[in-house]
């Protein structure tokens, strides 16, 4: 049973466009939703995270939109840059608990 579903599997956008990555979850007790990005051969790096008390979290060009009723959350990358090309993982957890990851989205930003 896959508790966190992520789509699309891969995404290509032009430089300057907004990339949108989507995730959904099943366990309503999850209360922490981070996004990580991972470059080839490197460790996953925490990008931005949200808790269900908010439906939106912004950090520069990165925004998480959260829909508690539908159990969905998305990452919007505005004004995308070639350096944003990486694999992005969404995840979900309860405090101190394991992170359950989605299968990842390979994002390619075309110059």
């Amino acid at each position: 049973q896959q508790q966190v579903r992520q789509s699309p599997q891969s995404l290509t956008v032009w430089e300057g466009e907004t990339a949108i990555l989507n995730c959904s979850y099943e366990d309503s007790t999850f209360d922490y939703f981070p996004w990580y990005h991972q470059f080839p051969g490197e460790s996953p790096a925490l990008l931005i995270a949200i808790r269900p008390v908010s439906n939106k979290k912004e950090d520069g060009r990165f925004t998480i939109f959260f829909n508690k009723r539908e159990k969905k959350f998305s990452l919007h990358i505005a004004d995308s840059q070639p350096g944003d090309s990486a694999t992005y993982f969404c995840a979900a957890s309860r405090r101190a608990d394991r992170l359950t990851f989605g299968k990842g989205t390979q994002l390619i930003i075309q110059p």
Binding site: E42, S43, L46, S93, A96, R98, T100, K103
Partner: protein, 112 residues
């Protein structure tokens, strides 16, 4: 961000041998985790550790696996004996309050 260190970066061993993966977590962090990632796939949780004890382990955390953090030193993952399917990248993570987890650079384990 906070730095988690892992030693070694690569390890090649023969099937059946013992291996110990070392993690140096962020100094004031209290929660420690091991994850396993097979090439091209997502990270999967193995085990978490708090206050000197295993809190939870997944089905991937076989009987051959063990973790410890003696006297606040390295947080270690030991596999004894190793099997071919243990080949993967193992990531250590640590967290202060149990929410934001910071990952180390990983140890690539190859079992021949």
């Amino acid at each position: 961000g906070p730095k988690v260190l892992q030693i070694p970066s690569h390890q090649i061993i023969d099937m059946g041998q013992m291996v110990t993966l070392n993690c140096d977590p962020v100094s004031n962090h209290l929660y420690f985790y091991w994850y396993k990632q097979i090439l091209g796939q997502q990270m999967e949780f193995l085990v978490n550790f708090y206050n000197g004890k295993v809190m939870e382990k997944s089905k991937l955390f076989k009987d051959q696996f063990s973790v410890e953090r003696p006297d606040g030193s390295y947080f270690t993952l030991k596999i004894q004996p190793t099997a071919l399917e243990d080949s993967a990248v193992y990531f250590c993570a640590s967290s202060f309050l149990g929410d934001e987890q910071y990952f180390g650079p990983g140890t690539r384990l190859t079992v021949l």
